[in-house]
């Protein structure tokens, strides 16, 4: 069965009421429209219920309507449950009439009866049932009341089989409908494929998809179409209005008529609570202030508070890491077994993403609250004028905020949130620029560069990078919508502003969990696969034999030195050369076991455990006696040497790896942007996740990536001749850096095309390189300092933004073009 209804009629609550937790979320094949299905049992028989997208009508002009219509047409549900908002029945019936027209049995569900009652609206359900000749069931989806009656009606309808369908009387058009219907039904193959009266009406409406349908199924489609055109023309001259108008107006008049007969409304119009709230929320001055406060709250709760929660939750992921570490083979002195290094790399890649879960969860919950409360259309209302100038949409606000319009966001939920944008062109433009915002992971590199090269202007430089991104994103969005997105489908901006709702905790929680689960399922699996590939790229080919032998010799020297110390103490003979690695690992284990333990009793227990495991090692590590102390010093020496050797080896291996080779190969191109091969490697490694850029720089400059300070010093020392101009170019490149792999996957999911994902990666890389080259080479030619170049570029971006804003956007006239316009051409191209 299918569940159909207009937007804001409470369809989701009815769906949840009927199916409970037995739901499955996927996409309709080939499109990004979400398809939810669930199961329930009606009077003992199993029913599969598919939630159709919420639509006002069933034309072929919008993707959602096409999806809903195609499902009814091709998947042939046994019956349709039509959810209608009882408090707004007149408009809701418009869809009901069209559902009847499609020839499928319909159960009319009058939902939100509580709201109707509160407003003093009375609906005669029994009268409606007699009028339509189909079951009518009132419910209050939010409270779950009416569910058994609805299920019983569904079961009864399924038993009864095809019933007499209610048909709209189109008056003077009826003979035309009958004639086309007969033509359509004349062919036996075509007659079985679809309801002929419905197709006749659609053809007279000049519905482009209906014409395609006819061409596919009817052998004499051209002749039928010719007749349709002739009849349309004749009707228009006779009636003085086009057939499609006549059809829509007749339906509306019938809705109004039914409304008058079966619905009683209170005499005087009362100002609802929603109206009162709107006079503040949409107020000329108060509106924007409230908007900013809400967005600030969103940022504070999700990013600031969420960041704190993530920190509290981190031990969980940390223990997952140590748990895996324990399962994998033990570390070596120089090299770890492949299974260990690859395993740890993969686990760490996953935990790096899981670390963001609390932030995402809060974000998703807050978005659900905004959506359920009805605030989203108000936000679009307030900001549409601004964003439209740049080819975006009022609904682009949220994705850009989530992406990090100032500092700190994430492209993944940003791209995910573009789903709400009804205009395909603006939606794509938003998807393409959202990754240009400053996500959390870009910040470490900014901080390193700013404190290394703009230490005197740190505050200003941070302000620059935090705000310049928006001035880059807006003109780029406009440029994209004028060029590559020019032919994409654009929708008129007509948005319902539904009454405010108090979101229910259950509904919000369900939605947030649903989205988190989708995220974990889709993203984490891909991250694992990509992590393995990146691991190969940065670890292979290995170092040459000569270099490996050199490192082995230095290792042996360190071990020998330690053994010489052993022989001077009472440990002589109790520690052999092959024990040295075990001793080092023993020390590491003990240190990590005691990390964060402040309780004396627990510390004693850990000590006792280690003392029992190996009393000799324990004596050295815990500095027992004079000999223990002496040997512990020597052990520290070995540990430090090991660390240094491993670090150098890693840096060297990095340079020799495939990625390192690529970094060097790119140098001739990137030198104009001021990037040498070392920077190139860091940037290439950032593609997996942007945090990597800072860690990789640390590795290259021979510092462990912990603590920004050391990386800056390493960079200052390691890159002589590196100027603030270099740093500025690098910062801008990072700002425009293509979406990381998880975000790219999200782009693919939301655009439903690998092509757009690749485009998104490609154009941002090129744009970043072009901007960095402009700033670096341009700045050098003009002899600008880093700070001068910074503000010059800022001015340039603001000018571009203003310039782009002045190019007139597409007007409604284009949208209202000839009626035979093929609405699908945008998708096909």
């Amino acid at each position: 069965m299918a569940l159909a209804g207009q937007p804001n009629c409470g369809k989701t609550t009815v769906f949840n009421m009927l199916t409970g937790a037995r739901q499955h979320v996927a996409n309709y094949p080939g499109v990004t429209v979400e398809k939810k299905s669930g199961r329930f049992s009606a009077e003992g028989r199993p029913v599969e219920l598919v939630d159709l997208p919420g639509t006002y009508s069933l034309t072929s002009y919008s993707l959602e309507e096409r999806v809903a219509r195609d499902f009814i047409l091709y998947d042939k549900p046994r019956a349709i449950i039509n959810v209608a908002d009882a408090s707004n029945l007149k408009r809701n019936l418009y869809l009901t009439l069209q559902l009847f027209e499609m020839g499928v049995p319909v159960v009319l569900n009058l939902n939100m009866m509580d709201v109707a009652e509160r407003r003093g609206i009375g609906v005669d359900a029994r009268g409606l049932q007699e009028y339509f000749g189909s079951p009518v069931v009132p419910t209050v989806g939010k409270k779950g009341s009416g569910a058994p009656q609805l299920k019983a009606a569904v079961a009864a309808l399924a038993d009864a089989g095809p019933a007499r369908a209610f048909a709209v009387d189109y008056g003077p058009l009826e003979p035309f409908v009958a004639e086309i219907g007969d033509l359509v039904a004349a062919d036996p193959q075509a007659a079985g494929a679809y309801p002929s009266r419905w197709l006749a009406i659609k053809l007279l409406e000049a519905d482009a998809e209906a014409a395609n349908l006819l061409a596919r199924h009817h052998p004499e489609a051209a002749e039928v179409m010719e007749r349709v055109q002739a009849l349309r023309a004749r009707f228009e001259t006779e009636a003085g209005l086009s057939a499609d108008r006549h059809i829509a107006f007749t339906r509306h008049r019938l809705c109004a008529d039914i409304f008058r007969r079966f619905v009683t409304v209170p005499g005087e119009k009362r100002r609802t609570l929603s109206d009162k709230a709107d006079s503040f929320v949409c107020h000329r001055f108060a509106g924007p202030v409230i908007l900013v406060l809400i967005l600030l709250g969103l940022y504070q709760i999700s990013i600031v508070f969420g960041g704190w929660v993530a920190l509290q939750v981190w031990p969980v992921w940390g223990s997952l890491e140590s748990f895996t570490e324990g399962l994998l083979p033990a570390a070596g002195f120089l090299d770890d077994p492949l299974l260990r290094s690859l395993g740890m790399w993969t686990v760490k890649s996953v935990t790096a993403i899981l670390n963001y879960l609390p932030i995402f969860f809060l974000l998703f919950a807050l978005i659900a609250i905004l959506e359920d409360s009805g605030y989203m259309p108000r936000m679009a209302f307030i900001l549409d004028r601004l964003f439209r100038r740049f080819g975006l949409h009022g609904q682009s606000t949220l994705p850009l905020i989530l992406g990090g319009v100032y500092v700190g966001g994430c492209a993944i939920p940003a791209v995910m949130a573009t789903k709400a944008i009804p205009d395909e062109r603006a939606r794509l433009a938003t998807i393409l620029v959202a990754p240009m915002m400053n996500c959390l992971a870009k910040v470490p590199l900014y901080l390193i560069l700013i404190s290394a090269y703009f230490a005197d202007h740190a505050g200003m430089a941070m302000f620059f990078i935090a705000t310049v991104t928006l001035f880059m994103a807006l003109p780029v969005a406009k440029a994209l919508s004028l060029t590559v997105l020019r032919r994409r489908e654009s929708a008129p901006f007509i948005m319902e502003m539904p009454p405010y709702h108090l979101p229910t905790a259950g509904g919000v929680l369900r939605r947030a969990l649903e989205r988190i689960w989708l995220f974990v399922k889709k993203i984490v699996t891909v991250v694992v696969a990509v992590a393995v590939i990146v691991f190969m790229l940065i670890n292979f080919p290995n170092l040459g034999r000569e270099r490996l032998e050199d490192y082995a010799a230095r290792r042996d020297a360190a071990v020998d030195a330690f053994m010489a110390e052993v022989d001077k103490t009472s440990f002589k003979g109790r520690i052999a050369p092959e024990d040295v690695l075990a001793l080092v690992l023993f020390e590491e284990d003990m240190k990590s076991a005691k990390r964060g333990v402040s309780d004396q009793a627990r510390a004693d227990a850990i000590n006792a455990r280690f003392a029992e495991a190996n009393p000799v090692f324990y004596a050295v590590v815990s500095r027992e006696g004079k000999d223990g102390k002496a040997l512990n010093r020597a052990l520290k020496g070995v540990i430090n040497t090991r660390k240094e050797l491993r670090r150098n080896m890693r840096a060297e291996r990095f340079e020799a790896s495939f990625l390192g080779v690529a970094g060097r190969a790119l140098e001739p191109l990137t030198q104009w942007a001021g990037f040498n091969w070392r920077i190139n490697i860091a940037l290439l490694s950032a593609f997996a996740a942007k945090e990597n850029s800072a860690a990789t720089l640390g590795a290259i400059y021979g510092i462990d990536g912990e603590g920004g300070g050391s990386v800056e010093q390493g960079m200052l020392a390691g890159e002589e001749g590196f100027t603030p101009l270099h740093a500025l170019a690098l910062m801008l490149f990072m700002a425009l850096y293509p979406p990381c792999i998880p975000a790219s996957i999200m782009v693919r999911m939301q655009t439903n095309s690998s092509k757009w994902m690749l485009f998104s990666i490609g154009y941002q890389t090129l744009l970043g390189l072009a901007v960095a080259t402009l700033v670096f080479t341009g700045g050098r030619l003009l002899g600008l300092s880093g700070v001068q170049a910074m503000w010059a570029f800022y001015g340039l971006c603001v000018a571009a933004t203003v310039g782009m804003a002045l190019i007139p956007e597409k007007t409604a006239r284009e949208l209202s073009g000839p009626q035979t316009r093929q609405p699908k051409e945008g998708i096909a191209s």
């Binding site: 086009s242 108008r245 949409c282 004028r385 319902e496 409604a812 073009g817």
Partner: protein, 72 residues
Amino acid sequence: MTINEMKPGETRAVKGLTAGGALGQRLMDLGFFPGAAVQVVRNAPLVDPVELELDGYHMSIRHDEAGHVEVE
């Protein structure tokens, strides 16, 4: 006269639509048909779009598009 020229607070009856295609269809589907009463509630803070009340429910629509709805 079109909705575009109405002032906030004004209520008028829809006379006809001058748009075809996607826009015309959408306007019809949302209930703009001859005789329907439409009230201009308010303009957005940046003037565009405009909030309307049509047959008991609220919607926002850009001025460009509102210009295609003729009123009495």
